[in-house]
Amino acid sequence: MIDIEGWHLPLHDVARADPIARGAVRVHVPRLVPADIDAICDRLLDAQRHLETLTTADIIAAIDAAARMLRDPAEPERAAVLHSLRDVSGLSDAMAAHVLDRMAEDWLAPALQQLVGAELGDASALDGFTHRAGRRVRAVAPRLGFHVFSGNVPGVSVTSIVRSLLVRTAVLGKSAAAEPALAPAFARLLARVSPRVGACVAIAWWPGGDERLEQAALGRAGIVVHYGGADAIASLRARAHAHVTFVEHGPRISFAVIHAAALREPARLRQCARDTAAAVALFDQQGCVSPQLAYVIGSADDARALAEAVAAALDDVQRSLPRGALDAGEAAAIREARTRAEFGAIRGDSRDLWGPDSLDYSVILSDDVAFEGSCLNRTLVVKAAPDIDAVLDAARPFAHLLQTVGLAGFDDAHRDAIALLLARVGVTRIAAIADMPWPPPDWHHDGRGPLTELIRWVDLDA
C-alpha cells in the first residue's frame, strides 16, 4: 500500500476520516468541520501579511524550487503523486509522468516570468505602486482565495495556486476526488523550500457538495476560483457573496478544422494525423483543450483519409503513451457510439469506425456536419464539411461551450480571417493542432487574463 496525504493544512490539527483505497493507493483525508475552515483561514490571513512583504522574484524563486523537486525522480512526493495519478486518476504510468513533467514546466521561473511580463509588463505593479503612463498604479488582489479544483487535468490545481501566489493571494484549495495528491504535495514542497510562501497555501479535502464547509470558506474568501462541472459551479456561485470575485472555468469543448490541402501529400497527411492523435491522446482527452471532433473542409474521401490516418497514429500513441483505465460507464458509452458507426458502415452508409475491440482508441467517421462531442478517452469524431461556413453554422449554438480550435491546412492569408470568424462564434483560442493540449503559460484561458482576472488596479494619484 502506498499512503498519500490528501491534504495540507499548515499549523492546524484535524481529525482523520477513513482513508480512501484505490488500487495500491490509500488516500488519507481529513474530517473537517466549519470551525476548522475558520481556523485555517485565520492562519492563511496571518501568513498572507508576510507574502505582501516578499518580491515577485522571491515568490517565483520559491515556486520554481518546489516545481523542480516535483520533477526530481528521487523526490518521494513525486513518486506518491505518480502512484495517485495512476490508481486514483486512472492515467497510465507513462501519461502520468509525461503530464506531470510538462505541467511543472509552467511553474518554473522562465514560464512565470513570461506570465507576469505578458500580463502586467513587469512585476513592478505587483511589488509596489509603480509609474504607468504618468501616474502611480498597483495591482492588488484579495488577501484570501477559495479554489475548487477539478480532477480532469492533473496540475491545473497547482497552476491556479501559483497564479494566486504571484498576485499575493493566499489560497485555501479543495482537491478533487479524482486527483487528490498533486496540490497537497506541491504545497508541502513549497513549505519545505520557503516556509513563508508555503504558509500561504492550505489544501483541504471534503466530499463534494458539503455546503457547511463550502459556506465557511465562502464567508472568508475575497475571490473564488472554481474549476468543475456546470452544476457545481452554478451552485457555489449562487451562494457566494455578491462582492466576491468569482472566476469560473466550466466544461468546454475543443475541435479541429483541417483544410483538405493539409491531407493531399502523404507526408503532410501523416504529420497532420500525428498531431491530431497526440492532441486527442493527451490527458486521455479529458482536457477542455482536447479535440473531440475534427472537421475536414473537403470531400467525404478527404475525411475518410484523415480518419484512417489518425487511427493509425493513435495506434502508435497507444504504445508510447497508453490510455488509462476506463470505468464501466465510460466503456459502455464508447461501445454504443462504436456500434452505431460500425453497423452504419456495415449497412453501407458512409459512416465508419476504426479502433480495436479493446477500446484503446476509436475514430468515428460520421456522415453529417452536425456539431457533436465524442465519448472522450481517445474517441475522435471526423466529419467532412463543404466550407468553413458550414462548420461555423454547426458550432454556433454551442458558443458558450467552445474553447480551442486547432487549425491545419490554411494559408496565412486565410488563417486570420477564419480566426476572426471562429472568435465570433465563441472560440477563445486558435492554435496549431500540435499545440492544442499545451497552451503557453500566459494564455487567455476562456478569454480572460490569467493574472489580471485575479487583481484590481489601484490608482495612487495623491
Partner: protein, 377 residues
Amino acid sequence: MQHSDESLRRDVLDLMARGFDAHTDDAAFDALALRAFRRQYERVAPYRAYCDRRGRTPDRVDSWMMIPAVPTAAFKEVALVTGAAADAQAVFRTSGTTRGVERRGAHYVLDLSLYHASLLPTFAACVLPDGARPRMLSLVPAAADAPDSSLSHMIDVVMKQLGAPDSATFADAQHGIDYDRLATALHEAQRADRAVCLLGTSFAFVHWIDHLDAHDVRFTLPAGSRLMDTGGYKGRSREVGEEQLRAQYARVLGVAADHCINEYGMTEMCSQFYDASLRAALRGRTDTVRTKIGPPWVRTRVVHPETLEPLPHGETGILRHVDLANLDSVAAIQTEDLGVADGDGFRLLGRAPGAMPRGCSIAMDMLLEAARESRAP
C-alpha cells in the same frame, strides 16, 4: 441445407422440451451454439460482416464462448434476422433515445413457437415452481394493445398457458392502469382466499403503490400469492431501490419477499432470466443475495467492460448471453448490463452508470441542452 436447418430447430426444441432443470453438458451446448452460429453467420449479412471484421468466422470458432456477440445497440441500426424481415411473426421493438434522437431497436421473430417453447418452461420453473396455476393480474397492456412490446406478448402467452382461466389485464396503452378494477379484483381474491400472481413493470408497481399509499389502501393477499416485476428500478419519476421496493410489496400487498420475483429480459432476446428466490424458498432456503437464473439453453458470461475478456466469479463486468432461442436472429448478445457471476447464475447490477465523473455524458448532455436552449425562442 434445409434439412440440417430443420434438424437444428428440432434439436433446440428437444432441449427446451427436456425442461428448465435438465442438465446440458458443455459439449452439447457448444455443438448447438456452433451450429446456430454457422447458420446465423451464413444468413444474417450484417452479422457476417461484423464477424468478418474481427476475423471470427465459423471455421475459427470452436466454443460458444468465442462466438462474436453483437451489442444490443446493433438492433437499432440493422435488421438481424436469418430470413426476410417481412416474414416475421412478430416484431418487438425497444423504446428509447440515443443522443436526443429516438432510435428503436427491432427484433424480428420468425418463429414464435420457439419463443414460447423457451418462455413457458422458464416462467413455470421460476415463478410457479410449486405447480400453482393462480389467477394472473397484469399491469401491462395486452399484446393487441401494444404489438411492439415483447413484455406484453410474453405476459399474454403466460396468462393464457399458465394462468387460471379468469386471468386478466388491468392496463391499456391509452389510460394506463385501472386502479379501481384492480382493487376490486384483489378484494375479491382476499374474500375468496384465492392466491393471485401480479405481473408488471417495476415502475408500474411503484406508481401503483404510491396511489395505494395516497388512498391509505392495504392488501393482505392470500397465501401463495406472488408477484413478478421486471425492468430497471429506475422509475421515470423517482428511483426506488430493489430491496426497498420488495419491502413495499410486503407492506402494501402482503406478498413476502421470496414470493416477489424479478424478471430480467430484453427485447433482443427470446429467453428470460428470473430471481431464484421462490425456487430456493420451496427448498427451505432463503437467499441473502438475489441471483438470476436462466434455462439450460442460455449461457451467460461476465466479461471485462474494456477488454471483453471473461472475468472470474465475483468480479463485476458486462453480461454476455448466448441464447439458443434466438435461432432466427443472433444468439450471442452483448448487453449494456452490469453483473457478477454467482453460483449457477449471476447477480444483476443494472445498467452501467453514465460516464458522469470525468466527462463524456456531461459534455454530451450539455451539448444537447445547449442546442435545445438555442432553439428556444
